[in-house]
Amino acid sequence: MSVEPITLRGTELSGKAGTEVEAARPGKRGRRLRIFGRYVALSVLAFIVLFPIYITIVNSLLQPSQIAAKSPTFFPTSPQWHTYSDAWSSGHLGAYLRNSFIQTGLIVAGQLVTSILAGYAFAFLRFPFKRTLFVVFLATLMVPFEITIITNLQTINTLGWYDSFAALAVPFLATGFGAFLLRQTFLQLPQDLQDAAKLDGYGHLRFLTRVAVPLARPTIAALAVFSFLSAWNQYLWPLLVTKDDRLRTVQIGLKQLRATNIDQVNITFAGTVIAFIPLVILLLIFQKQLVRGLTAGAVKG
């Protein structure tokens, strides 16, 4: 209800502004200029966003003395590629990355399944205590994991899971965030779709898998990215539930690498690049899926 004023005002405004713009419609030259301006704006912003990454890559190829020099170096004239093999071998980054991927993969899969199911229940099903349960789910977002650690460590040990992938993944197989996100998305699906599906004789599970999930693909993709990243980001928990390098993840590896290479910052920077390269690649692949998913959702008709 309270939504309407905004929408109304919006329509009014666009109507009014219309004539002005029409009067000032620029010629071909002006249009080119405007497009050029957009590229400039995009490029400037891209530069700002990318600069820290760029300088990290540059620094990974410099000698430590160049990094520590008074005047910063912005381009490596004699790149020190060996920093990468140093970081790889001395930092055990290969094993760390593998462990991170396994832990993260398990968590993402689990979170997608549990979130879709819960989000669907909250959006489309009627049952007693739904609101209460939804608040309960949201409440999980407000419990920082740090405060549950002492008890959780005991639980993990009681289950005999210490130093295993189960310990790394199981506590994170569900997320209130995902349930919330999917509920919001499902709620935004047009009501007629549901009605149409009902007419076609679709049951809930068929509606979920054939209609709701495909239409929510953009959100699911975004959730996958998010789950992936938050799982990938952990380091306190993995440090606590793993014994040694065998199961430790890349974040700890990075912390460790930095602690042991205080004087060789270039190696720390190289390790940092190694730690984020796999994610960049993944993101590039995922970006395509994401966009395809988005357009598929947009042409739903």
Partner: protein, 333 residues
Amino acid sequence: MSTPVDAVVAAGSGEPPTAAPPLRRRRFSRGVREAGLGYLLLLPAFLIFSVFIFYPFFRNFYLGFFSTPPFPGQPKNYVALDQYKDVLTSSEFLDSLKVTVIFAVITVPVGIALGILLAVLAHQKLKGVGIYRAFFSSTVATSIAVASVIFGTLLSPQVGLLHGIQTEPSILQNPDPIINISLPVIRSFIPSVALTAVAVTTIWQNLGLSFILMSAGLQAVPDELQEAAEIDGAGPWTRFWSVTLPLLSPTIFFAFVVGSIFAFQTFGQIDLLTPRGGPLKTTNVLTYYIYDQLQFSKNDGKAAVLAIALFGVTLLLTLIQFQFLERRVSYER
């Protein structure tokens, strides 16, 4: 049509799927069946939450009544509400709460605004705009650890980019307010230089996510609406305020709620960038304070009280947001 539901109910009640036929004959009323399915769908998540979030969480309330020994296996003293009272009225707690709120107030709106800016710019029909989208989402590939190592090293007074011009104390060790205001009341609410640096790191690291989220929101805005407005002659600015922003409002609302909650749980950056919530506790956000009590003071009871406080504050904030912000959200239905 009833088959999947019944089969699932059977599986959910812990019996093997072969037990389904006798069940199928049973007549559930539609409502009961729907409710059963609802509970079943919630069950997996609910179990995980119960074991790994709620149980340890509620145990905190219990622990809060005790003065706990630094090491397990020794008796703890029942102190009733004394510990709650002492901790929640201590200046250390109030300062930490203030730092947390200031941190959230900086990082959340700025992060969202930048995300919208980038998303809107990258939403144009331009050749090669995909490259920019990739660029803008790139910080998503950095983890908190990666971002903290990058910024921590760049801001280092010894090897960082700025080490030539940094003065004493250097950025991450500077407890002075970022803007020098002599009014003591206002001054105490200005973030320290160190906290600002942590906030910048956080905003940068979150930028990719914020961008992706806002882009997804924009994609969901039907192009026809934009085109209609354009045909109506609306300029880009007007289109943004009157079409894009209202239709983006569910996403923004979502980002606000979740962003605030996450801001209140900031931990990794503080641990990696600052000297344990310093300098002078100006980066001692609540989660870090709790961690500090657990790990360094080994005071589970006090940490438990702080955890409950953090929970209470976050809950309050979320309720307020739902109360005042969701009204302004237009769900497209």
